[in-house]
C-alpha cells in the first residue's frame, strides 16, 4: 500500500509541474507582471530545482504539510483541508449508512423472492439509479423537497446563528496542586487493570508471569496517563470538545434544536449520495444472498424449523455481509467522487466544494494538496477495511 501511495504522490507532483508547462504562468493566464510571477514562484518554492522541490514536498508531507495556496494570503493548504474535512466526513458516513441500509434491505428482499415481480423491480432500480448523474438526482430532490415542499433547507450545513457546534466545559483548577490530583486519580488505574484482566481472560493467558507484568503495566500507565491528561485540561481552564461532525457535536451539547437542524441540513445531501451508492450494494447483496441461501447450513437451519426471518437474517445475511464490507471500502473512492458533485449541488462546505472553488481560482498547489489528501484517505480507509475484515472473518489471521 505504501509504494502505491508514494507512486501516486510522485505522479501528482509531476503532473502539476510538468503537464501544464508552468503552473504559475497558467494561474495568471499570462496577465501578470514579471515581478508578480517571480514572487509567487519564490513563495511557493517553485523556483528551486525539481528534485529539491520533490524532497521538500515529501518531507513536508511527513509532518502533514501540504504546501501553500496560490491565493494572495498564501494560506496553509493543510489547515484549509482539515477545516473542510469534517463536513465531508459527516456526509460520507451518513451516505454510506443510507446506501448500505437501502442496499441490504432491498437486496435481501429481492433474493428472498427470486425472479418475482419484486425481484425484477429491485434489479431495475439498481440499474437505473446507477445511470443517474448524482448531481442531477440532487437537484431533483432539491427541487421537490426543498423548493416546492419546503421541508428541507436548500443548501449549506446549518443556520449561521447556531454555530459554533461543540461542547464547551468550564473547568476549575483542582485544589491542592498536582500530587493530590494524582492520588485522587487512583481509580482510573483500577479501571485499566480491570480491562487488562478481561483481555487476559479472553486470550486465555496465564496470570503468572507475563500476565502479572501486563497488569502492573496497565495499572500504572492507566493511572498516570489519566492523571496527566486530566491535569493538562483542568489547568487549561476551558475545554472545547468538538468533532466537527455537527450531528455528533449537537448530541454532545444535548441541544435538540441544533441536532434537528443538523439532520435537516444533512438529510438531502446524504440521501442523494446514499441513493447513488445503493445500486452497487443492492446488486452485491442480492447475488451474495442468492448464493448463501443455497448453501447446506441454510437448508439445515430451515430443516430445524427455525423462522424464515431468523434463517435469512441470522444465518444467511451474516455470511453474505463480509463481501459487502469489502465493497464499502472499495466504494469509498467512488463516494469521494460523488461527494464533490453532491457538495457542489447542495453548497455543502466540505472538501469537494473546496476543490471546485480552487479549480475556479486556478490554484494548482491547492488542487495538488487536495488530491493527495484524497489519495491518502482512500489508502487509510482500505487499510481499516482490511483489518476489520480479518477481525470479522475467523479464517483470516495474520
Amino acid at each position: 500500500m505504501i509504494p502505491m501511495v508514494l507512486l501516486l504522490l510522485s505522479i501528482v507532483f509531476l503532473i502539476v509541474r510538468v503537464v501544464p508547462g508552468d503552473p504559475v504562468l497558467l494561474h495568471f493566464e499570462k496577465k501578470a507582471s514579471e515581478e508578480a510571477i517571480a514572487e509567487m514562484r519564490h513563495d511557493l518554492g517553485l523556483d528551486k530545482p525539481l528534485h529539491i522541490q520533490y524532497f521538500e514536498y515529501l518531507a513536508g508531507l511527513l509532518h502533514g504539510d501540504l504546501g501553500k495556496s496560490m491565493a494572495p494570503g498564501r494560506d496553509s493548504i493543510s489547515q484549509q483541508i482539515f477545516s473542510a474535512f469534517p463536513a465531508t466526513l459527516e456526509l460520507a458516513l451518513f451516505s454510506i449508512l443510507i446506501a448500505v441500509g437501502i442496499g441490504t434491505l432491498l437486496g435481501v428482499r429481492a433474493s428472498r423472492s427470486y425472479n418475482s415481480v419484486q425481484d425484477h423491480l429491485v434489479r431495475v432500480f439498481g440499474t437505473v439509479i446507477y445511470a443517474i448523474p448524482v448531481f442531477f438526482l440532487g437537484m431533483i430532490l432539491l427541487l421537490i423537497f426543498s423548493i416546492n415542499l419546503n421541508w428541507f433547507p436548500a443548501g449549506g450545513r446549518t443556520q449561521p446563528t447556531l454555530e459554533p457546534f461543540g461542547l464547551t466545559v468550564n473547568l476549575s483548577e483542582p485544589v491542592g496542586g498536582f500530587i493530590p490530583h494524582f492520588l485522587w486519580s487512583l481509580p482510573a488505574g483500577f479501571v485499566f487493570l480491570a480491562i487488562c484482566f478481561i483481555a487476559l481472560k479472553r486470550k486465555h493467558m496465564k496470570f503468572w508471569p507475563r500476565g502479572m507484568v501486563f497488569s502492573l503495566l496497565a495499572f500504572f500507565t492507566g493511572w498516570s496517563v489519566y492523571a496527566m491528561v486530566t491535569w493538562y485540561f483542568m489547568s487549561a481552564g476551558v475545554l472545547h470538545i468538538s468533532t466537527g461532525l455537527y450531528t455528533i457535536d449537537s448530541v454532545l451539547e444535548l441541544n435538540i434544536v441544533k441536532f434537528v437542524e443538523a439532520v435537516r441540513y444533512l438529510f438531502l445531501p446524504s440521501l442523494t449520495l446514499g441513493l447513488m451508492l445503493s445500486g452497487v450494494f443492492i446488486r452485491l447483496t442480492r447475488s451474495n444472498m442468492l448464493e448463501t441461501l443455497r448453501q447446506d447450513f441454510v437448508t439445515a437451519a430451515k430443516a430445524r424449523g427455525l423462522k424464515e426471518s431468523t434463517v435469512v437474517y441470522g444465518y444467511a445475511f451474516r455470511n453474505a455481509f463480509l463481501p459487502i464490507l469489502t465493497m464499502m471500502g472499495l466504494q469509498f473512492a467512488m463516494l469521494l467522487g460523488g461527494a464533490i458533485l453532491t457538495e457542489t449541488t447542495f453548497s455543502w462546505p466540505g472538501l469537494g466544494r473546496y476543490i471546485v472553488d480552487r479549480i475556479n481560482f486556478r490554484d494548482y498547489t491547492a488542487i495538488q494538496g487536495a488530491v493527495i489528501f484524497f489519495g491518502i484517505l482512500v489508502a487509510i480507509v482500505n487499510l481499516i477495511v482490511d483489518i476489520l475484515y480479518a477481525y470479522l472473518d475467523p479464517r483470516i489471521r495474520f
Binding site: 502505491m4 464533490i340 484524497f374
Partner: protein, 267 residues
Amino acid sequence: MTLLGSVIVLSMILLTVVGPWVSPHDPTAINVRPPPNPGPPSGDFPLGTNLLGQDMLSRVLCGGSIILQVALLSVLFCFIIGVPVGLLSSYAGGTLDKVFTLVMDSFYAFPGLVLAIAIAAIMGRGVINMALSIAVVYVPSYFRIVRSQVLTIKELPYTEAAQAAGAGGRTILLRYILPNVLPSIVIVATVNFADAILTAAGLTFVGLGVGIDVPDWGWDLTQGRQLLPSGAWWVITFPGLMIILLALGFTLMGEGLSELLNPRLEQ
C-alpha cells in the same frame, strides 16, 4: 436487454446527428423567446427556455454531441493505451509487469472523479483534454481485464502448441491471444461508456466543460442549478433525462453483452 440498450444508444447517436436539422430554433441563439426568461414550457417552446432565452427543445436535440464525443474518444484512448500495455506487460512478465501493475493499481484505487477533475483542471478546457483525463481513470480497468485474461490464455495448450510450432512472440500475442481477449474488452468498453458519460457530465458540472458556445446537456444542468431557487424545473429535467437515458442505454448494452458472451455468469 442488449437489444433495448442498443436501440437506445443508436437512437441517441442518430438524434445527435440529425438534431441540428430538426431542431426548431438555433440552439445557441439567445433570446429566441423575448424576456422574461427562463420561460416555462409553452406552445412555441415545448420544453421552455433557459436563462439566456435559448430554446430548450433545440438544446436537448443537439446537446448530445459533446458528451458523446468525449465518451467515444476516452474509450478509444483507453483502448489504445490499456490493451497493448496489458498485453505486453502480462506476456513479458517479470519486472516490467510488476512495475505496470503497481502503476495501474495505484490509479485504480484512487477516486476516479477526483483524478479526472485534477487532470482536467490542469490541462484546461477542450474535448480532447476532457477525454484524456477520463481515459486516465479507466485505463486500469482495461489493463486489469487484459492482464488476467492473458495470464490464463498463456497457459492454455493451444498457445503452447503455437509456441512449439515455432510462432514468435508477436504472432502469439496478436493471432492467438488478442482475439480471445477481445470479447471481454468489448464488455468493459460498453460498461465504461456509461461511466465515461457520467464522468464527462460531472466534469462539466464542476466547471471544466467545453464552453457555452456549444449546446451541451452537461452545461445546461450546470446553468440550471443557478435557476433552481426560481423553480425552473424544465431547464434541468430534460437534459438530465437525456444523460440518464444515454448512460442507461450503454449499461444495458454492456450487461446484455456480458451475458451473451459469458453464458456462465447467468447462473
